[in-house]
Symmetry: C2
Subunit: 410 residues, 2 copies
């Protein structure tokens, strides 16, 4: 069935054809609660009526144009985005994908500093290609520059000094040639981990000290996902560049790089030059503009608060002999497993994923990180949360019972 | 007015807000014939009614989903695309941008061959980031691997052997570590140049000989732009991978990588793994599918033939003391200038561009390559071609007269 599609990952058997709010419908009409928000994009729910209306209206006017010409909607979207961000930024460009935005930001920092090395944290996922990929946990490149860090909630902060000294050693060694530090505020693909703020702040201070820039990869953590507008607000830091994607388009491929005019001023026209077919295109920017409007007018952040508490509390009630840890940061939830009875961890995770899918719940999972993951739309309703809780409970119970059957306890 | 937009290139003063067919309308209602097809994307004309209808319909159904799930429309689009390509390919993935597609193709080739070097031609433009950027004429990286080549129409083929020997020297030196050769069939950004087929064929043969792959960057040359469905058909070669973009989405950000199952079979699941938010998303793939349908049902290629002849003939009639060369490849046209009278080449080009804009014609230009450029929609009408010819003639005449005024010939 999928034999013409290059096998870049595993595809589930179910074919889907419709989506609305928190739900996805397959070709047989069966519905699934989408607890991954697509690829962590549809923070406002699938096919949000206002966004769909914007797509229809804008695509009737103008979709695309040459890079030499701008549309008023693009300028408005830039202003809207800058107003939306609490910290003071005053320059934007709109691109297509989060990976492209991070890659652009890194190259921008390298040109400004005239330096070549880039720091990240181990476990970060920063992009699908280029330097951003090489700095990600999925690549074996640049190992020296992927800093070990203390994870919040693991008592690793007790060893804060050890982590800091190790990081300083790398930074001091390359002080003259570090262009930037790229921070993913919560490492989502890398295991749903939050780096300790007592580690992040001094590292960012150190960047200022050595003349390097601080880039925040907000592709996943932006637009309310962490309970804040942007993930970097979890730390007391002042970034130089933000890379935005995913939720900015609520499912449409638009991303952005946000920075400051004093940084732009350090580059010549030819150093600043960048050209991509759909950069600043009106269809994408009109959607970005509307996403921010909806985010504000529907008071997404305020309404999210009780939902964060509710799912967090639920996670804490889960008890299953195979659960090592259930953790959450804002509206990012993970349950980490160990092997149990006859089930190796990997099989257990795949079994839970499959069982939940049968029950009408799509979740995320990582067999490499031993976890299942939920990043539901921020607009998920109380009833849908109830449904999710019931299904998780049911599936975990079933696994417990089936294990009891096959491995009877004397 | 544009002070919030990062200055990645120069923006014209005119703000635009509507597009239809070959025309773009500014906020004052003035219309412009878009002879760059946006960023060489709208081969079917802006806001083609069938494409806009598809966007509206599909965005009401489902825009985006998790990478683990496919939509029937995506599978249909893959099949449609493979059927559309004359040569035998049987694997596709859909991405967002042409740059991403080329970058993906190069990384795919590197993984398959387990080699690291990549050949391109000097003057190629292959992408905005990553290895594809480093291989482009806009970068000073990888110089050794950017082959000099004989340009068609410049009698350089007389020195074919010299070019080939030089290329073979590089290839032989690195034979064990060349992953692929990336060919842009017509170098459009690099100066509107066609490499001699007597050079390209042996280089591609040599790739087969040393176990390297042939990748074709069809981002600009695909979908009829050269008068063929794909630019590589200008040569007698058998590519391993095609990277498609631009016209595939007719203004919407969708691109594709097309390859073969025997290559896919050489990689493990983890080597094949790639994840990007909007890869294989139904909105993009439904548009790609419809673009191909329109291309076929409107018989674009057949109807293009007389237009190619007409604009080619017109170009050959142009006589202006500053014109060095007027050349075309299919529906890609360039007029190359030298300095003239008081006008330095750069100023002359900018003056022509500005004058044509005033006259209601948007063109492309490169002050680095000393040329103005036209890649009109393939659907441009006879009347619009007439308009374009009149305006070019008028502007060139005006420049001639104004020069005559300021530099009277005795």
């Amino acid at each position: 069935m999928f034999d013409k599609i290059l096998r870049t990952n595993t595809f589930e058997f179910e074919l889907i054809e419709r989506a609305s709010g928190s739900w996805i419908y397959d070709v047989n009409g069966k519905k699934y609660l989408d607890c991954e928000s697509g690829m962590w994009c549809t923070n406002l729910g699938h096919n949000h009526p206002t966004i769909v209306e914007t797509i229809k209206e804008q695509s009737s006017k103008i979709i695309h144009r040459n890079k030499g010409f701008l549309c008023p909607i693009t300028i408005e979207a830039a202003e809207k985005l800058l107003d939306f961000i609490t910290d003071k930024f005053d320059k934007v460009t709109f691109l297509n994908s989060g990976s492209e935005a991070v890659e652009f930001a890194i190259n921008f920092a390298k040109k400004i500093t005239k330096r070549k090395n880039v720091l990240s944290l181990e476990n970060s996922y920063l992009g699908a290609f280029g330097i951003a990929r090489d700095l990600s946990f999925t690549s074996s490149e640049n190992e020296e520059f992927k800093l070990e860090f203390p994870v919040c909630g693991r008592n690793e902060c007790e060893n804060l000094d050890r982590f800091l000294q190790k990081a300083y050693k790398v930074i001091d060694k390359h002080a003259d040639d570090i262009a930037c530090f790229v921070l993913e505020p919560i490492m989502v693909g890398g295991g749903v981990l939050r780096p300790c703020s007592k580690f992040i702040q001094p590292i960012c201070d150190k960047m200022k000290e050595i003349g390097a820039l601080v880039i925040i990869d907000e592709v996943t953590t932006g637009f309310g996902r962490t309970g804040k507008k942007f993930g970097y607000e979890l730390f007391k830091i002042t970034p130089d560049i933000l890379a935005l994607g995913k939720a900015l388009g609520n499912g449409y491929p638009v991303s952005a790089v946000v920075t400051k005019s004093d940084l732009e001023a350090k580059l010549t026209s030819s150093e600043l030059y960048y050209a991509q077919s759909h950069q600043l295109d009106p269809l994408g920017t009109s959607i970005a503009m509307k996403v921010i409007e909806v985010f504000e007018s529907e008071d997404i952040l305020e309404k999210l608060k009780p939902k964060i508490v509710e799912l967090f509390s639920f996670l804490k009630t889960l008890s299953h002999p195979s659960i090592i840890d259930a953790r959450s940061f804002g509206f990012i939830f993970a349950i980490e497993f160990k092997e149990y009875g006859n089930n190796k961890t990997k099989e257990l995770i795949l079994r839970i994923k499959d069982s939940l899918l049968l029950e009408g719940v799509m979740i995320g999972f990582s067999t490499a990180k031993n976890l299942i993951r939920f990043l539901p739309p921020l607009t998920i309703s109380d009833e849908e949360i109830k449904f999710l809780k019931q299904k998780i409970t049911k599936v975990l119970e079933e696994i417990k019972s089936s294990e009891l059957d096959t491995n009877p306890i004397p």
